[in-house]
Amino acid sequence: MHRQSLLFRASLWALVYVIAAALSPQFASADENLFGYSYGSDTLPKGATEVYNWLTLRTGKGQGTYRGWDEMVEVEHGITDRLQASFYLKGRSHRIAGGALEEDPQRKLSRSLEFDGVNLSLKYNLLSVYKDVLGVAVYLEPGYSRIHQVTGERIRQFSLESKLLLQKNFFDDQLVTTYNFVLEPEWKKVKASGEREKALEIEHTAGISYRFLPHWFGGIEGRYHSEYPEYKKREFGAYFLGPNIHYGTERWWATFTFLPQVSGSPRTPGRQPGLHLGEHERYEFRLKVAYNF
């Protein structure tokens, strides 16, 4: 297990070095993420490339110990001024103890960072947020995952995330607002049990951020996430709301978001009141750091 973790880390480093070396000096910062979860409608200019690292911590099940770390390295490239493509290499680690999982209280897991899967994405800008009444983009992201996000179980999961991205700016683009509508069908097989599932995830995210100083944006973002097994009845849904902060320079940028769950259903009895802690956690923290070469 330790060897796998080292191999995964080495491959991430190798990927970043190889791509950076291959594309330098064309690296440029663009399509900056002001938010941890909500996307803007901007795309990279043609020929520009950006590499960045996502790190998400999901923690708090209202009982026991639960920490899920999601690690992702993304390489993004502008194919045209309106179309960009990304490749993602994903890793995941878990610490589960003390009856944290509602549906499997006996489960204990302590696993360091391991390779989880890969995603590809395409984003196409339809209307420019700087010229048109509204910035509009569409987004498609097929993905493969081999570690269950909540339980850490070995799985084979294929997903196809599609997004409608809207952005409206105010006051000389100093105030940025976004809204995303996300549909994501997924097909999953749990290796140990052989159980197969298919589900549809529906998500709404929105954010507002203001440039309060040169280089600095601060704001709030919200997220609603729900899942419909077999594309039928909703199994759960949870609302998150929290602050974000962004710092950007010409060579690098970083965004940090803290997103606590504020409401969810079905409620998890005997734990945090008013929240759904089965498939979601009490808190999510996300850090994105992008470097330009």
């Binding site: 950076a20 330098s24 390295v73 000389d172 950007g248 010409e250």
Partner: protein
């Protein structure tokens, strides 16, 4: 925690030159009015009524109480004025200078400082040349009489709006002085 350390330790490779200061004010003055013998600085106060008129005419926001301008003089006459202004870039301000003759027509535009990661194509001489001859009577609007540079839309839009605002400033404040 290891993952957090890892996240922050993505290697930083050799950085290339990005934006920079391309011209000082003095260099921009020489480039814009090469025949001038001297440049005299004026700090021009802009009153509330003038701000209202500038904003109405230019359809942009006016942010300053006082604008710095330089009169480009020959021995016995003024050739025109240079206005040095800043507009919002993605992270920092883009500093540019616009030269306007006494008739109110633009004679040149120079980008002094550009410190953004991309969009620096606004320094392109052909793009800047589109503004030459424009006055407050012209639209000076992206995709109308000013061509956009794809991939540099934010910079094009903000520089264009800044120049339109300063044409209105010239019209409302300088011309009537």
């Amino acid at each position: 925690m290891k993952a957090l350390i890892y996240s922050l330790s993505v290697p930083v490779l050799a950085a290339n030159a990005f934006g920079a200061q391309y011209l000082t004010v003095a260099q921009a003055q020489r480039a814009l009015f090469p025949a001038a013998a001297s440049f005299v600085e004026h700090k021009v106060d802009v009153g509330a009524e003038q701000v209202r008129r500038i904003e109405a005419q230019s359809r942009t926001r006016w942010r300053l109480q006082r604008q710095r301008i330089w009169a480009a003089n020959m021995t016995d006459k003024t050739l025109g004025y240079i206005i040095v202004d800043e507009v919002y870039g993605k992270h920092e301000f883009i500093t540019y200078a616009v030269a306007i003759n006494l008739a109110g027509n633009i004679t040149g535009v120079e980008i002094l400082e550009y410190r953004e990661s991309y969009g620096g194509e606004v320094r392109n001489p052909q793009w800047r040349a589109q503004f030459v001859g424009k006055s407050s009577q012209d639209a000076v609007e992206l995709d109308k009489d000013i061509r956009n540079l794809s991939g540099a839309t934010l910079s094009c839009q903000h520089v264009t709006e800044g120049i339109r605002r300063n044409l209105a400033f010239f019209d409302v404040v300088i011309k009537n002085k």
